[in-house]
Amino acid sequence: MTVLRNEIRFHWKGTLIWSLSLSFFAILALTLYPQVANYSGMFNAMVERMGILGQMFNLQNMDMFEFMNYYGLENGNFLGLGGGMFAAITAMNIVAREEGRHTAEFLFPHPINRTTVLVQKFIAMLLQILVLNAIFIMAGHIGAGLIGMSFPQKRFTDFHLSLLMMNLQVAVLCFGISCFRKRDSVVPGLGLVLAFYFVNLFININREVATFKYFTPYYYTDIGRITSNGGPMWDAIGLGFAVPGLIFILGILYYSRKDLAI
């Protein structure tokens, strides 16, 4: 578990900074809820008139000022986009960094096989994502407590389970890609996250291209869809993991046989 310990030691500060930053916005958004809710009638009327813009963010046919919907829209963006970026950055770096920063020449002359290194790095990455999600959830409860509100338990759990799956899907994909790379760069990972986000906006506008829903994890983190579905959209989640899972497996197989760039 030496690699795992080293990864945690190396990343805990970054994880904490990301978690606290996103949590700060989560609490801030929640504390604004009572003021915003006072103008709900006006905002809902505005959304109706927003047309394609409202459609883009899937705001139609939804009372965005119902507490859980409000939380899902605001904090779904923070944890969806912010958490997705965190997952992408962490996963893109965690393997490729060894070659990019030449520490592979320190690590791999030791009696440890490459698959073991990858497994420990993967566990470290999962732990970081779990910690970020856990801190964000705690912040959500703190924020709700500050304004004297509470979340509907099942919808809150379904929503955060979907967001966690989304973060993990990005992480699994970027981890797999990282195995193929010789230099650490977060750009491809961030590009993918943004592409996923915009594909979801595109689907919201043009419902005829709904088959794209399996290409973006943002589709199944939409609070409106989760509520309509009565829980996490496991079919979309399952299919969403298919390609990242394949790239992940191929990445591990490739890494165990590749020439390490020193």
Partner: protein, 295 residues
């Protein structure tokens, strides 16, 4: 003789670079083996194959009689490796890196780590990020020696070390050698190879040029002929290479029939003559620039 390292027709091709071709070397138990070649000759490629960092296109490499591809973990347990340029994880102290390496090896190396760091005057509490290149190299030495491995693979190990530390380094290496360790040393510093190595190989453009004892290499190479009181020697003097003239002394490398040399020298003005063994530099140049005898 028990071979600690043995390669057979080892070939590694890169997409854009040469790598190594049909490399056959044997390092016997107890050898201090010098592996000499210019930049890009294939020294580091060979070392990376032995460490399992890269894979070959053809041929076989064995360490301790085990195939490097199939028994990597067992082999690496008993190797100490010093890279030419060591990189470490940021934020670590010297003691953290030493502890991490010993955890990988599942051995308590604390005592030996302290002894080696002491011998090299390396403060174990220093942050690695703050260390100079030379001090990072000292850490690499401590990492390679702390588990007392039976095989040491040293890639340009003394580059960046001042002469005092180099001496301390060689004292440590010779201690390990006396305790039974085999040493594989890749180096540009030919005097180092001549001074410390028992056997050596010269690699050129990925191919082995020659492999023999340092003593035999000295014998097989050209001799250094110095003519005192001689100001001129024709450039086409039979068998003469690398002719130089300094302060009325003409010197050249010679390989050939010495009776004929004596006859040819009768036409040359000089007051004294010496024929000496060449130093490692000259052996290297002999085998390198002129191609030497291809194995």
């Amino acid at each position: 003789m028990e071979a600690v390292i043995k390669t057979h027709q080892l070939t590694k091709r890169y997409r854009r670079a040469r790598g190594i071709t049909d490399l056959d070397i044997t390092v016997n138990k107890g050898d201090i083996y010098g592996f000499i070649g210019s930049n890009g000759a294939g020294k580091s490629t060979t070392i990376r194959v032995l460490l399992g960092l890269i894979y070959t296109n053809a041929g076989r490499a064995e360490v301790f009689g085990l195939d490097v591809r199939r028994h990597k973990r067992e082999i690496l347990s008993d190797i100490g490796y010093i890279p030419s340029e060591a990189s470490y994880y940021p934020g670590m102290r010297v003691s953290d890196a030493l502890k991490m390496a010993s955890q990988f090896r599942r051995r308590d190396c604390a005592l030996e780590a302290r002894r080696v760091c002491g011998a090299l005057s390396l403060d174990m509490n220093r942050k690695i990020d703050e260390l100079s290149f030379g001090n990072k190299k000292k850490l690499a030495i401590a990492l390679a020696l702390q588990h007392k491995p039976p095989l040491l693979i040293l890639d340009e190990a003394t580059s960046g070390l001042d002469p005092l530390v180099q001496k301390a380094f060689w004292d440590l290496i010779m201690d390990r050698h006396r305790a039974g360790a085999t040493v594989f040393l890749s180096s540009h510093v030919l005097s180092e190879v001549q001074q410390h190595c028992t056997r050596a190989a010269i690699i050129r453009e990925g191919k082995l040029v020659v492999e023999d004892s340092v003593e035999a290499l000295s014998r097989s190479a050209a001799k250094r002929v110095t003519l005192r009181g001689c100001d001129y020697l024709p450039e086409d003097f039979p068998g003469a290479l690398n002719i130089t003239n300094i302060n009325h002394n003409t010197s050249f490398l010679f390989r050939g029939d010495y009776k004929k040399l004596m006859r040819d020298l009768q036409a040359v003005e000089f007051s004294d003559l010496s024929i000496t063994e060449p130093d490692m530099e000259e052996i290297f140049l002999h085998f390198y620039e002129k191609g030497g005898e291809q194995k």
